[in-house]
Amino acid sequence: MEIFSGGVTNVGRVRTNNEDCFRIEEPLNLYVLSDGMGGEAHGEIASALAVEALVKHCQETEHDPAMTIFGDMPSNWSEKTKRLSSAVHLANKTIFDSAQAHPEQRGMGATLTAAWIDGPRLSVAHVGDSRAYLLRSGTLQQLTNDHSLVAEQVRRGILTPAEAERSDMQSVLLRALGAHEEIEVESEEHTLFGGDVLLLCSDGLTRMVTEPEIAGTLQAEPDPLKASERLVELANEQGGADNVTAVVVRVGSEPKGWFSWLRRGTRKTAQKNGSAGGK
């Protein structure tokens, strides 16, 4: 499977600092996004810690598969999904411990949405209100659940999606990294098909740009970096109220016939303002 990816993060048009952070870890086909929260520079610290801890754990387990798996998870999950979920538990612990050790960091936290592609299998692990989407045959499907109060109210039928969009409580999260020593991680496995497009994004995108606009942009722009740039532009054109980050991963069309092995392993990656969470 050929994989092309690109990502952009931008401070937006209202905020002065960028608490979003993402990483495209090319050799592993690992894609990570985190949106930090907390006073002063602490949101930036939290999201950077989250991404760093997760990527580090995934890299280490590539060399040492016997490493401990953290958290309870179903035994029928693949090794990669277990690892990814485990890495989110570790990232949580890292932020929590840092806040304990540095009183001025109390209250800092972060969302974390990570995707790991292994052949046709996609593993997703997630906490918070950043999102992973899959565009397949023109249909955009959200793969993650928002761990926010309003999303929970919609799932229970207490609010309609329209009421949720107007709600004043959109920023209230039920789960985030760093808030508690233990955390519940949402994980899932999916099978990828040729032509699929994966999008990881922060709420700065989804609050400004509608899902049909996102689907249209991903379909119109085949280059992942240009697509992510376009999405960020759209969010800024429509207000840019928050930091905005988009990571786009495109799975090449399914290789046809016996010569498919010739093309295996080809890939292309681009990224802008990456792991440093630049402005």
Partner: protein, 242 residues
Amino acid sequence: MAKLTLMFEQKTVKEVPVGSRPVGIGRSPDNDLPVDNLAVSNYHARVYFEAGRLVVEDLASLNGTFVNDLRVERATLHDGDSIWVGKHHIKVDASGDTSTFGDTGRRGATAPRINETMVLDTKARRDMLQQAAAMGERTQFAVGRLKVPTLVILSGNTDQKEYMLTNKLTVIGKSKMATVRLKGWFKPQLAAQVNQRDDGYYVGPGDKVPRVNGAPITGPMRLNDGDLIEVCGLRMNFIFRD
């Protein structure tokens, strides 16, 4: 605090406040609001706070629970609503209510605008999770609520006759990775897809445009119990299995 007043015609029968515990309504005398009428089931309905909203839930009663004129299984209550069970009704007074998480409702912004992202503290979160757990229990006990979405193959060449939809994404196609695997020459790798969303299951196009109940879909379409889906010579029913 919200208050419920049981009325028979214009007469007040009983008044109870709604606290952290659900208020039970039914013919059995151990209900908080006992209703002495044969049209009312023993445990007919209950009212409780959930995520800051006052909710009424019908407990699979024989003759139903109505809010104002509408029969409901579950509904959010607002100040001034009337819940009808048999010939009795219960007036809802939520005027003095200060809810746990602030009112996010249709009556507009009473809660302060929160711009900064925040996480609910441990206690609020615990309450929320407890409510979720209680909700889960109720869902299992309520009649016919716990159902598994299933595709039943009526005609066509597939590897199984029935598929339970357990994943968020289900693909129908010839591909080895497809859940519903089509057999035969010239079948597309990815014919169509069924996706789970918060509000239900949607069928969407793949390389082909499926037909639902005879009509080609124009985009992802929400499936109802019993819908007939046709794609690539395959005919199947979408049903909720017990």
